[in-house]
Amino acid sequence: MSYNPIIMLILFFVFLAIFLILFRPVKGYYWILKNSLKQNKKIVIEDILKQLYHCEISDKEVGIEFLSGVLKSKDTNILEAVKEMEAKDLISTQGNSIKLNTSGREYALKIIRVHRLWEKYLAEKTGYDKKEWHDRAELMEHKLDEKATNILASELGNPMFDPHGDPIPTQTGEIVELGGVTLSSLKRYDIGKIIHIEDEPDVIYRQILAENIHIGSYIRVIENNSKRVVFYAEGEEFILAPIVAANVTVLTIDNEEEIDKDLVRLSSLKENETGEIISISKESRGEARRRLLDLGFVKGSKVSLDLTGPMNNPRGYHIKGTTIALRNEQAIHILIKKSSQNGKV
């Protein structure tokens, strides 16, 4: 018999390696190939419209090179698409600069509407990770037709904002003005409320996510220089690089009174401390938020830490006569005020 265990082992690992190279999640060649085949003209046109819309808002000039750069596509493809779009009266070109026409702007808003609604849907109704919302919405925005979009919108209760705080255009293409300034532009001792966190580019968004910064949080800046922005929110200290802070939008508040200095996160509650629930952060959404409320985590409830568990996560909180276990990832979304006197009430 020509059977040799070493050869068998080697064969096995060779097959395994080939399999992994082809099929490993996302970066496997099979998936890459499959995705690249899906690119078609409609998608290119819609992506260009979106880019043009965003640039129009921030008063940026747009040319072919810029588009081929951000869309990671060949110049010739973009040129072809631009020609077709001009013929359809979606855009007009003057020299090297491309501008949206009214119909093009309407079209762009429709795409943005689908994108943001889909993100809202993912946030409210599914378990997908925040990091995945954007990519999934990028795919969906080219697929959903107007009718399906309106059904989706009404199922979600016609929301006004997507989970990042971006306004969702209405059916008729109206869109709320957001306002606010970037966090990086605030000065020392400024106070405000976070109203928006930009989800592009991905690398910066991931850094913001890793810090557990929440939309709706009240903040107070305590340091801002070319190296870092430091601020307090909900009893914790956050340090961001200025370019990261530039992706967070804050509505400034003039009146000291409006912000509650003693607000801390439930996750910071220690054994033998008692707190009173003040609110649940906007970052806790959909089913998860409703569940917390139903379990009695409502404004005014007294809460104390009962059990820390072998891993410190999840922990058991005593609330309204019973012990409820929550993961720390959920507890950071619950804002409380600690009672001044220690010891259980």
């Binding site: 199922e155 089913e287 409703r290 569940r291 409320l293 139903d294 379990l295 009695g296 309204k320 006569g321």
Partner: protein
């Protein structure tokens, strides 16, 4: 413990009139729903009324399918539905939908809400929501033995007055208070006990206004619809099932 098991011997309860029918549920006179938070003893109450052995266990979330059973009392047959335990009726999870849909669309003659006497406040959240849907309800104050051990006493008369429905104290595990429960269910089912359920008072103004507007509209379009304010509230939350029900007309009572 005497005070709620006394009725075992009192004149009203007709012990001969009780017959546990198990799963024989054809041709019933009344349909009774058992609702309540998880782990309050619904299945235990269900078992002691029907003589069945629906699975019970000490932890939230073990009743995952709804069970049916029956009993007869004073020549009337009662069908009993053991609903999955829920903390609320406002959310969208599957078990809540089963419970909510049954109370709303199953049109039970009586809804028995089983609560944990030691954790009354937390349990009232669900009770008050159920009372928004239906008037014909009985509060089953279960786990009384535990409450007593924890030195908690409950003034049943005040509670009954505040909620506007009859209150029965039980310890289902030891079959205490079950005869009274059977009698009370009979009374509510045949109308000899009248309920006037409490409705939540301090709903914020903007919600109240919105529901009122919607109720006016519903009044115009569907004058025969019961529970209009609850339905208005569900519509405000975008409940697809309610929209479907409006369409099919299954909510209308003649």
């Amino acid at each position: 413990m005497e005070k709620y098991s006394a009725c075992d011997t009192c004149g009203h309860f007709n012990a001969q009139g009780l017959q546990k029918l198990g799963v024989k549920v054809e041709e019933v006179d009344y349909v009774i729903a058992l609702a309540g938070n998880p782990n309050t003893g619904k299945s235990t109450v269900f078992n002691s009324l029907t003589g069945l052995r629906q699975h019970t266990g000490n932890w939230p979330g073990k009743t995952v399918i709804r069970a049916e059973g029956a009993y007869a009392y004073n020549d009337k047959k009662y069908k009993l539905i053991d609903l999955p335990g829920t903390y609320s009726l406002l959310s969208t999870s599957d078990d809540e939908e089963v419970a909510r849909n049954f109370i709303l669309f199953g049109k039970p003659d009586v809804t028995v809400v089983v609560v944990d006497a030691s954790r009354l406040e937390r349990n009232l959240n669900l009770v008050l929501q159920i009372l928004e849907i239906t008037d014909k309800a009985v509060l089953c104050l279960n786990l009384m033995d535990e409450a007593e051990r924890n030195n908690i006493s409950i003034d049943q008369r005040t509670l009954s007055r505040d909620l506007g429905i009859p209150v029965v104290a039980t310890s289902a595990r030891y079959n205490r208070g079950i005869p009274e429960l059977i009698q009370t269910i009979e009374g509510v089912a045949n109308g000899s006990i009248k309920c006037k359920a409490h409705h939540v008072i301090n709903i914020p103004k903007n919600i109240k206004k919105a529901t009122n507007n919607l109720v006016v509209e519903l009044e115009k379009q569907f004058p025969k619809l019961p529970n209009k304010s609850w339905i208005a509230l569900r519509l405000l939350q975008g409940d697809e099932r309610i929209i479907k029900a409006l369409e099919s007309g299954e909510l209308i009572v003649e």
